[in-house]
């Protein structure tokens, strides 16, 4: 548990993980918007 607590509060580590998720989710949002404008939802 000590390992986990240290890892969770290491600010550079947290920043790297947040940046990764933000960029991937940001691109997914762009893809879904382009998809919707082409007349499709995620289901089709």
């Amino acid at each position: 548990m000590q390992v986990a607590e240290n890892a969770m509060f290491h600010r550079h580590l947290v920043a790297a993980y947040i940046v990764t998720w933000a960029l991937q989710l940001g691109y997914l949002t762009y893809v879904l918007i382009r998809r919707r404008s082409a007349g499709k939802s995620i289901d089709r």
Partner: protein, 247 residues
């Protein structure tokens, strides 16, 4: 297709969640860098993703050039693969550069240095940004051919990036994977690498499949519009009133 896509997304999220758990809570911290070394588990998959999707972009571009006069439908699909994979590769490359910069700041005390690995990677990123800008702003039938040629030349930088830490002395560490004697991770750290590698590659496949379908549909719509315009009768030329003849 719909069910498969949702199943794939659910599996991807499950693998990513487990990867996150293993990376932060299961594997031990590095003896030298401590908790900071856990950036590796998101940093390495981003480069693997970049390499795979840029290779896919290369394959799509070559196929487009080979098929554009022989099989128009296949060529359009190859072009859609090329565009979608270039975007996906740029996302991974951006993540790799950013997480690497954050890691460098914490480990070396600097955000950036102009060593061979970082500089060649930045050039690679700029090449594919230029490729996407060309695709976004160029018009006309030559755009796809030009961008395919550009993609082939741009990919030449990928092996250069990979070999840069072997050919030159760099601030960036020597190769960790397949780097010869005294390289490699401690076996206890591999589960975090594999889970996150699998998770982020599955994520890439999911987003790529959505984007590919969207690009292909846009291309088909553009083709239909072009054919419709060609099929419309040309407007009659105006009459010249002084002669009663066609002007």
């Amino acid at each position: 297709m719909k069910l498969l896509r949702w199943f794939w997304l659910a599996a991807t999220l499950a693998v990513l969640a487990n990867g996150f758990r293993v990376a932060l809570f299961v594997v031990p911290a590095d003896a030298d860098q401590g908790e900071l070394s856990r950036i590796l588990y998101y940093h390495v998959p981003s480069w693997a993703g970049m390499a795979i999707f840029f290779a896919l972009n290369l394959g799509g571009s070559i196929l487009y050039l080979a098929m554009r006069h022989r099989n128009q439908a296949l060529a359009l699909k190859a072009d859609a693969v090329a565009l979608a994979s270039a975007e996906m590769g740029v996302v991974y490359c951006t993540i790799g550069l950013t997480t690497g910069s954050i890691w460098g700041r914490a480990a070396w005390g600097i955000w950036w240095t102009w060593d061979a690995r970082l500089t060649s990677t930045l050039i690679l990123w700029l090449i594919y940004i230029a490729y996407l800008l060309l695709r976004r702003f160029a018009e006309g039938p030559q755009m796809r051919t030009l961008s395919a040629v550009m993609a082939i030349f741009g990919y030449l930088d990928v092996p250069l990036v990979y070999m840069s830490t072997r050919w030159w002395r760099t601030q960036h560490p020597a190769p960790v994977f397949a780097g010869g004697p005294n390289s490699g991770l401690d076996p206890s750290m591999y589960p975090a690498v594999w889970w996150n590698l699998a998770g982020w590659l599955m994520w890439g496949v999911f987003v790529f499949s959505l984007r590919y379908a969207s690009v292909y549909r846009e291309q088909q719509a553009a083709e239909r519009d072009a054919l419709r315009i060609l099929a419309e009768p040309a407007p009659a030329p105006p009459l010249d009133p002084s002669h009663g003849q066609l002007a």
